[in-house]
């Protein structure tokens, strides 16, 4: 836009065409911004819910977590995820990933050799692992959507604050210039006509 513009009708037509395109694109970006804002709000709510759930489970578990200090009990094999299935969907041009199912390894628990608290601990570990996995997915989604929102905002602002006003100004300048040229041409034509009339009368 900083380039010197050619003050002719072709440029004027091209600029009008560009302006039309900008005016069509602006509401698209405004709508996208609105849509992404809503998506961000819903992801932020999901993140908040998951963080609250993690905190609540930690709070409840902290009442009895002391039993997990017991040596000789290894729960690693009983709490390892075996299969994680996620699905993706596209919202306003952004790919959102969500957890479908998480399956844990089916480990045989020796009920005679493991203490009673093992069952409750396994449940808590599985729940928290699921929560943390979902949280990490939502945080990645939030990052992706935020980046897309920033891009949509940049585009909207560029159109609204730069491209459309500058194109409008250039169109106005060319129109004024072309108007001046036209008026000048008419003036000149009139002058020539008048001179011709005077010359004819003298003869």
């Amino acid at each position: 836009m900083a380039d010197k513009i050619l003050m002719n009708k072709n440029t004027l037509a091209a600029l009008k065409n560009e302006l039309k395109g900008y005016r069509t694109a602006l509401p698209v970006f405004e709508m996208k911004e609105q849509q992404l804002k809503e998506v961000i709000q819903s992801i932020e709510n999901a993140v908040k819910r998951l963080e609250e759930s993690i905190t609540q489970i930690n709070k409840e578990t902290s009442e009895w977590v002391g039993v997990m200090a017991e040596d000789g009990v290894d729960l690693s094999n009983m709490t390892e995820p075996d299969e994680i299935k996620t699905s993706t969907r596209e919202i306003a041009g952004v790919v959102i990933e969500q957890l479908q199912t998480i399956k844990f390894k089916q480990a045989d628990i020796d009920f005679m050799e493991t203490p009673l608290w093992t069952d409750a601990a396994i449940e808590v570990i599985k729940d928290q692992k699921t929560n943390y996995f979902m949280l990490s997915l939502e945080q990645t989604n939030l990052k992706r959507v935020s980046e897309e929102l920033a891009e949509a905002r940049r585009m909207k602002n560029a159109l609204k604050e730069v491209f459309i006003p500058e194109t409008e100004t250039n169109i106005r300048k060319i129109e004024i210039y072309l108007g001046d040229v036209e008026r000048l041409a008419i003036g000149c034509a009139k002058l020539v006509k008048k001179k011709k009339q005077v010359k004819n009368e003298v003869l």
Partner: protein, 192 residues
């Protein structure tokens, strides 16, 4: 530590009470550690006890005392023990563990565990720590019951070791360490 026979050893050992009070814990710990001054300071209480017992017992008794462990006392080898107290406690622990197993299986299969009647298990708290404490108390009472009539013999020493290990298991329930273990299992760093 007093020198002499087994009676001296047993009478010089710290009194064990079913309590989690820190005062009790430090009393038992400091007394047993005093005996270990001549040995390594870092030894755990059970190692100190067995090391001290070695001075007052035969080799066979010492080996048996060393092998006896609270967490494996329900195994068949202890059920057939020539020491009546060990055999009786082993049978009791086996029966108790079978009941706990049935309870856990019923819970996991969503059956109502209350519909099964248990001989040894009391109505357990939903809180895992309280439930473990309830079970430890049941085991403690059984050890106390078996202690009657055994005050200064080798059976008394065997029961003392089992009681000490029971208390150490209880005293080992530490919130900070437990939370640290829980976090290790969850592997929070893996999820960023």
């Amino acid at each position: 530590m007093l020198s002499g026979n087994l009676e001296y050893l047993i009478s010089s050992l710290p009194d064990l009470v079913f309590s989690k009070a820190e005062e009790r814990q430090s009393r038992v710990s400091s007394l047993l550690h005093k005996y270990a001054v001549m040995a390594e300071d870092s030894q755990d209480l059970v190692t100190i006890l067995t090391a001290e017992a070695k001075k007052f017992t035969t080799n066979a008794q010492y080996e048996y005392l060393k092998d006896l462990q609270f967490n494996t006392v329900h195994h068949e080898s202890f059920m057939n023990s020539s020491y009546k107290v060990v055999s009786q406690f082993s049978h009791f622990m086996y029966a108790l563990k079978r009941e706990i197993r049935d309870l856990r299986m019923a819970r996991l299969s969503d059956k109502n565990p209350q519909s099964t009647t248990f001989e040894f298990i009391p109505e357990l708290s939903a809180d895992p720590l309280e439930a473990e404490e309830q079970l430890l108390e049941v085991q403690w009472h059984k050890l106390n019951e078996l202690s009657i009539g055994h005050y200064a013999d080798f059976s008394a020493l065997l029961l003392y070791k089992l009681k000490l290990q029971l208390l150490l298991r209880w005293w080992g329930f530490d919130r900070e360490k437990g939370m640290s273990n829980l976090k290790k299992y969850i592997k929070i760093e893996q999820y960023g």
